[in-house]
């Protein structure tokens, strides 16, 4: 332990340093105020809690936050205190040395043991919350989310076709969401639900949550998935039961009508196609010339491009052949264009898109 002799050289203050207890009292008050302030924060005002595990995850975050504030304040506080209290004074001889101590077994035991206890408490609490995330609820809506470059799709039971970009769930009904991908790894994240799962091709992962707050929330891709990763966003609508029922019935009917409608290219409307292009195609295709590629080629001059007289599948650029690619999809060198079913486009949609693409070429 500390030799007595060097003490004379380090100065006349006590072992712990001048005003040690005053500083400690100040730091304690400051830390307590900080912790109380933090605990009283409603994290939901920073970011709404829209589903059930969000509140538990926030509680865990808060619990950890308390210890982070405590430990950070101790480390930063005493580092600054020691740096000031034990600074070399001007009147000290140039060869002044500090207290020649090598350690203290008791102190070292306690500062190993106490954090260990904290870690154990934190681990137990985390495991408890983790178990809640794994448990299946009773009467649930089981559905699927599928990642595409660069859009989300949602499959519902008793709905033949997937729905693109908008996920509707009824408030209060537990949701079991299976997520996967058709191309590269994406990630499904709704910040307001506080849950995230990577959408991995060839793998199905499960998220469980119970929506509690009606509203619309952003579904964000959080795993880099290609050039337009930053734009890969969908909307989660937490509806009340009636709204959800209405929406679901409307989807079912629209899908039925679309599925029985034959493909009739004459029914296509360029204006409707343009809107659809923005939703379904523009992530991968520009409306510029062929070489203005995003993932696939630019589609602005499909019918009038002398440098590329054929379509990508080698056929002549006729409206019927364009419709065929829209229906069957295409495997390109940079990515896969989903077929009509995977892309959730109906025969009417195909006719509209076709009309729009033809109109683009006509303008040039």
């Amino acid at each position: 332990m500390a030799h007595d002799k060097p003490e004379a050289q380090t100065g006349q203050y006590s072992n712990l340093g001048p005003y040690f207890w005053t500083f400690t009292a100040f730091l304690a008050v400051f830390t307590i105020i900080a912790i109380v302030w933090f605990v009283q924060q409603d994290l939901g005002t920073w970011l709404p809690e829209a589903a059930v595990p969000a509140d538990e995850i926030d509680a865990l975050f808060k619990f950890m936050g308390v210890f982070v504030i405590l430990i950070f304040n101790i480390v930063a506080g005493y580092t600054i205190y020691f740096a000031i209290a034990f600074r070399r004074k001007k009147d000290m001889p140039p060869d002044a040395i500090g207290v020649q101590t090598h350690g203290n077994a008791k102190l070292e035991f306690w500062w190993t043991a106490l954090p260990t206890v904290l870690i154990i408490i934190l681990a137990i609490y985390s495991v408890q919350i983790w178990r809640g995330l794994q448990e299946a609820q009773g009467d649930v809506l089981t559905m699927e989310a599928i990642g595409h470059q660069f859009a989300f799709q949602f499959r519902y039971p008793r709905l033949g076709q997937p729905v693109a970009n908008d996920m509707h769930v009824p408030v209060g009904t537990p949701v079991t969401l299976h997520v996967t991908s058709v191309d590269v790894i994406h990630s499904f994240w709704v910040p307001e639900v506080r849950l995230k799962a990577d959408m991995v091709p060839g793998l199905i992962q499960t998220l469980r949550f119970t929506p509690t707050k009606v509203g619309t929330y952003r579904i964000i891709c959080t795993e880099y998935c290609g050039r337009n990763h930053g734009d890969m966003v969908a909307t989660l609508h937490i509806d009340n039961q009636q709204d959800f029922g209405r929406w679901f019935a409307g989807q079912a009917q629209a899908q039925h009508l679309a599925s029985v409608a034959p493909l009739d290219l004459n029914k296509g409307q360029a204006q409707a196609g343009q809107a659809l292009f923005g939703q379904k195609c523009s992530a991968c295709h520009s409306v510029g010339p062929f070489d203005q590629k995003i993932v696939g080629p630019g589609l602005g001059k499909l019918l009038s491009d002398t440098a590329h007289p054929k379509l990508v599948d080698g056929t002549d650029p006729t409206p019927a052949n364009i419709a065929k690619i829209l229906q069957n999809g295409f495997q390109g060198p940079l990515g896969v264009m989903p077929n009509a079913q995977a892309n959730a486009i109906s025969n009417l949609d195909i006719a509209n898109l076709d009309a729009y693409l033809v109109s683009l070429s006509g303008q040039k």
């Binding site: 380090t10 982070v68 034990f86 070399r88 040395i97 995230k196 990577d198 959080t222 290609g226 930053g230």
Partner: protein
């Protein structure tokens, strides 16, 4: 005495210094020259990678900026991360500091395998050039982690990326082997393991990780390369591969790699604090042991990067608990360093300021690490700016604060000139202010919902992003001051002499810069290096130096 006999035998073994510029400064086998080569090359790449960071921040000034195209942006952040990890941090902390300082500290004349050392270094510039050349053919865009399948679709530069990292990986593996053998076999007589300076302990633990973990990365990279070039499906699930396989192999290396960054910085801090507090390091054995504990535990936590990736849910628990356990040895170090400050006579040198700043900023990074380690919280935080904030606090607030302390500490040993302390103090305060203003707000952005690796964001995040961007420019100015200071030192810096700080480890017992063979006679070591006020624990040092040393560092009547 046996020691004396050993001395004379070793003394006869001195080779003459090679003559000629090429053998002395280019293809040198001298560990000090190689170390300087690593530092200079690493700092050049640091400047490039730092400029890439400013490009990122300039793009993010506005929510929907068109400063960079999406392709350029993705390339820029991927190259920033890759270069900072493999071309800057690892070469500087192992190849740079390790090479220059470690052999001097153990009283060796060079590393165990000097030619291997030269080969290690000469893989590094080609690797860096290969990496940056990928900008010419389309830089990799999937981040420094390059997860397949999207990296399989990536631009041609992704293939160059694989080759560059394989090359630097071979270099790291060889350096790890070299340092392990050096530290185990070449310590001066009397330097038992518990008398080694803590920087050497840190380098030993780092070398073990470098040697054992890097091969996993090399295997993963080779498979990615083969899949990209020859189409053998290791990772593409449509052809029967597994994309998760890459993640396991990648993180089996890349989590220990975090300890490759931080352990040498721990070592630097453990040297700087006792020297400028004029006190023995507090709890030497616990600090040394915790380095080894961290290195061991570091191999068992890799999947905490993959809690959302897809693995058996129960498997999350052991990885979570082991991750949290790392906080214990790390905490022991922090407490020991703080206790080293207590009761000291603290000199406010720039190196010391960076070491004390390290305690604060690194603790921040360590604590957010625990927050990310708890699985349920990670499900929210993963893949967001919270993670970006966390690892920048660890690598910038930890490793780089340590590196800056090390540069200010050992610069006089390498150049025999002092750096300007006024510029140094300015650099420290600017670094602390702008570093925290750059990286702290990222926590909030991440928790509020901003994902990482995006070139555009929703307008609500604009204010914080602008604060971060402006602060990052301030941080650049702080680094600019360091380079100005170096230039100033070459022109006006005072001659430092062998031991300007009154430090007690062996590298300060020889002239600055050290002679070609470091020690004319290998000294014998009598006790640990940190007992200020006691006679130096070395016998058989070059006699003249020994005399001047004992007069300057041992206070009269202090024994």
């Amino acid at each position: 005495m046996a020691v004396a006999a050993q001395h004379s035998a070793l003394a006869e073994h001195i080779h003459p210094e090679p003559q000629g510029f090429i053998r002395r400064y280019v293809f040198s086998i001298d560990h000090k020259i190689i170390g300087i080569q690593y530092m200079v090359t690493g700092l050049i790449f640091f400047v490039i990678a730092g400029m890439l960071a400013e490009l990122i921040r300039t793009q993010l000034m506005n929510s929907n900026a068109k400063f960079l195209t999406p392709d350029q942006y993705n390339g820029v952040y991927s190259m920033h991360g890759t270069a900072m990890v493999w071309m800057v941090t690892i070469p500087i902390v192992t190849g740079g500091f390790g090479n220059i300082i470690m052999p001097l500290m153990i009283g060796a004349r060079d590393v165990a395998f000097p030619w291997l050392n030269m080969a290690s270094f000469w893989l590094f510039p080609p690797a860096g050039i290969l990496l940056f050349a990928s900008f010419l053919v389309g830089a990799p865009e999937a981040g420094w982690t390059e997860y397949p399948p999207v990296s399989l679709q990536g631009p041609p530069g992704t293939t160059l990326w694989c080759l560059a990292i394989i090359l630097i990986g071979i270099s790291s593996t060889m350096t790890g082997l070299n340092f392990m053998v050096t530290i185990i076999k070449m310590r001066a007589p009397g330097m038992t393991y518990t008398r080694m300076p803590l920087f050497v302990w840190a380098q030993l633990a780092t070398a073990a990780i470098n040697m054992l973990a890097t091969v996993a990365l090399s295997a993963a990279l080779s498979a990615l390369f083969i899949e990209r070039v020859f189409g053998v499906p290791f990772y593409d699930p449509n052809k029967g591969g597994s994309p998760i396989l890459w993640q396991h192999m990648f993180w089996f290396y890349s989590h220990p790699a975090v300890y490759i960054f931080i352990l040498p910085a721990f070592g630097i801090i453990s040297e700087v604090l006792p020297t400028f507090a004029r006190k023995p390091i507090y709890g030497y054995k616990m600090i040394a042991f915790s380095s080894v504990a961290i290195a061991l535990l570091g191999f068992m936590v890799w999947a905490h990067h993959m809690f959302t990736s897809g693995m058996a849910p129960w498997l999350q628990l052991p990885f979570m608990i082991l991750t949290m356990l790392i906080a214990i040895p790390t905490g022991v170090k922090i407490w020991s360093w703080m206790a080293t400050l207590w009761g000291g006579v603290i000199h406010y040198s720039t190196a010391m300021l960076f070491a004390m700043g390290f305690l604060i900023t690194f603790t921040m990074g360590g604590l957010t690490g625990i927050m990310l380690g708890a699985v349920p919280a990670d499900l929210h935080e993963h893949g967001t700016y919270f993670v970006v904030a966390h690892f920048h606090y660890v690598v910038f607030g930890g490793t780089f604060m340590g590196v800056l302390a090390g540069i200010y500490y050992w610069w006089p040993k390498v150049t025999n000139r002092l750096l300007n302390e006024t510029i140094g103090h300015w650099q420290f305060w600017l670094t602390m202010i702008f570093g925290n203003l750059t990286f702290f707000p990222m926590h909030i952005l991440g928790l509020e919902g901003m994902p990482r690796r995006v070139a555009v964001y929703v307008p609500e995040y604009t204010d914080l992003n602008r604060l971060i961007s402006f602060s990052s420019y301030g941080l650049s100015i702080a680094f600019l001051l360091m380079f100005i200071n170096m230039a100033w030192s070459f022109k006006y810096g005072k001659k430092a002499g062998p031991n300007p700080w009154g430090a007690r480890t062996l590298e300060w017992m020889i002239s600055s810069p050290p002679p070609y063979y470091n020690f004319k006679r290998i000294p014998a070591i009598l006790s640990g290096p940190y007992d200020f006020g006691s006679p130096l624990p070395y016998i058989g040092l070059d006699s003249e130096l020994e005399r001047t040393q004992s007069h300057t560092t041992i206070p009269a009547g202090a024994h």
